[in-house]
Symmetry: C2
Subunit: 390 residues, 2 copies
């Protein structure tokens, strides 16, 4: 019973265009996954995510957030995360490890797992590979992430090696716990949803901060355990951008060619295009939603700060090249007025446009790889981004 | 050149079902107008207002808010309020009088007008019948409201009489200024939009607080000046609900039968049905949007507080009788989770459902008047509202 099937259909240099078949439908790659932290992609309805101008095929849910609130009992009783939130397309859940590190008041990391205080109610919590796998089985997501430890972006070699080796041991325990849970039929999604074929998929995560030798060793150890896909974690966490691309340049070509490659938590539109050029297939990032709520539009000509007084009377859409429902209907002047007035609709419209821009960029990326024009697409895309000059 | 045409098509007791033809399309009455204070109905996109489950035919804009921010120059330069916000259906704007009274730091009321401090930037502002008409001409709304003074709900006879007489004089000045502005082609909407037939319509407002003799005199004086429609103002401002219905009982039957009757700022779903039974045709109220943002759902079985722990695992929609897009897709448990997590989507979904419920209630009201079943509709509607018992 294959959980995911991945097939490369076209390649242009290192850039790959493929199809990831999950138990909830086919996803063309390279793909961008909007982030639905607490069971909602912030500021947007699921109908809009499904609408033609966005057409998001997979979104991400955060295990840490959902585990703390509403809690696993609520979601299991609803029949899994898909049913709880009302989303029938694919869902990937992260392991919670990164959020413990970035959000929780971390108390202690031991061989067994991590102890921390909940950011919701301050209670003491314990997360381990086994707990993470249990929670993700209860969520019934289609792609499950192994539980890892994330070293700081600028961590030294010794600290990173200790962390990376711990991640490997946790990754092995994740795989064992995952296999046991699947055989015990603990996957809420499959148990509750009629006609859903296939088990959950499990992805392993490569760590090692900026140390290429450790990254390579992490990759080897992770591949040896064996997963349905492989992620590069611990990037975009404060290191220089050149460091991020050095790691991708080194790691991506060594990753299994027949499995999806997922760059976690990255990035800007230009980061996405550059990472695709280096062989990455999957992305998630909060930038389009988070920055939308704080007044920033991503456009084909670069970033646009809607607070800027120069838009006061500007009747042009956020992006003159964009065909999303926001750009077809509303002006910069109007969105600026909404933002300056503190109206919810500002965040709603900017979020929609930003997601449309990210998803449409990936659409262009896929088409250009298939037609062998990716280098041209990449050059023109990057050239246009500088045009705005804001 | 008729600005609005109003035609009663069916009557059941005092309840009237008609068609209000504005220069931007036909509106079946009785009608509920969602409130779009600052150029946005808070928390909802225009696409949703136009969607089949809401199908709002007319929304309200607040002159006071739009005048202060973004200001008339911005809206005039965009080609009027419709173009600025991206809404092609009918718009009614209030006069700003009520907001000066309720929101501004009021400095002084003189015969000439009102002086107050802006709630946006604290600057000193002056609003008068002439200024209000100029602003509403610049907005280019389809229905303009005369500038009135609103006496407190519990004002004594002498204070109310003084205020009512001032309103009458301001109403006359509103009419004169409005006529002059129309002849000067100051209506941005008609000047900017091709194919838009007809001038703006002007409604007069009946004041007089709870004093029926003053209400009758206000009505006579307003009708004598002559308007396209007549509103009852100064209700739902703190008085007892029985007082409100006493005023409507007395005033509505004396209002011109061939003109639309608009009850301003009212009310709950039951208030709407009860006011229709007394001959009212038009309503606006912030309850569905404002209460939606604070976690309250209006349902066919009464109000539902989504914060209530009893909904934690409740897989039922907000309203089991509702066919809106929110109730078709999401559970109480999910909306509660969103609300408790402080997610924007909670307000977005509750706002959509509440507006669907208000607009659908009016749809039921219209159908039952046309089929002669309004008394039955009213009885069953009111009976169901008590069922929830929350």
């Amino acid at each position: 019973m294959k959980p995911v099937h991945f097939h490369i259909e076209a390649q242009d240099g290192e850039a790959r265009a493929g199809v990831l078949t999950t138990r909830r439908g086919q996803i063309e790659t390279p793909v961008f996954m909007p982030v639905g932290t607490a069971g909602t992609v912030k500021g947007i309805r699921f109908e809009e995510l499904e609408s033609a101008d966005l057409d998001a095929r997979i979104i991400l849910g955060n295990t840490y957030h959902l585990w703390l609130r509403p809690g696993i009992d609520v979601i299991r009783s609803a029949g899994g995360l898909h049913r709880f939130i009302g989303w029938d397309r694919a869902l990937l859940t992260d392991s919670g490890g990164f959020q413990v590190w970035s959000l929780g008041a971390l108390r202690k990391i031991t061989e067994e797992g991590t102890e921390f205080r909940s950011h919701v109610d301050g209670s003491l919590k314990f997360l381990s590979p086994e707990v993470s796998m249990e929670v993700q089985a209860a969520l019934g997501s289609d792609i499950v992430m192994a539980f890892d430890e994330c070293a700081p972006g600028k961590a030294g070699h010794e600290e990173t090696e200790r962390s990376m080796n711990l991640t490997t041991r946790w990754t092995k325990r994740s795989k064992d716990a995952f296999d046991r849970l699947q055989s015990e039929d603990a996957d809420t999604g499959r148990r509750e949803v009629e006609g859903l074929s296939g088990r959950q998929a499990l992805f392993g995560i490569v760590q090692g901060a900026s140390h290429l030798d450790l990254r390579r060793r992490s990759l080897e150890q992770t591949v040896e355990i064996g997963f349905d896909g492989y992620a590069i974690g611990g990037l975009s966490v404060g290191e220089e951008k050149s460091v991020m691309f050095d790691v991708i340049d080194d790691v991506a070509p060594r990753m299994p060619k027949d499995k999806p490659r997922y760059l976690m938590g990255v990035g800007t539109p230009e980061d996405l295009v550059e990472a695709v050029a280096r062989g990455i297939d999957m992305f998630d990032c909060v930038l389009p939603t988070r920055n939308g709520r704080t007044g920033q539009a991503f456009t084909s000509r670069g970033k646009l700060n809607i607070k800027n007084a120069q838009w006061t009377n500007d009747s042009r859409p956020l992006d003159e090249s964009c065909r999303c429902s926001v750009c077809r209907r509303h002006s910069r002047a109007y969105v600026r007025h909404l933002y300056m007035s503190g109206e919810m609709l500002a965040g709603i419209l900017l979020t929609h446009h930003n997601l449309a821009f990210f998803l449409d960029t990936m659409r262009g990326v896929r088409q250009s790889i298939r037609s062998g024009d990716f280098p041209k697409f990449r050059r023109e895309f990057t050239g246009r981004l500088d045009a705005n000059g804001e």
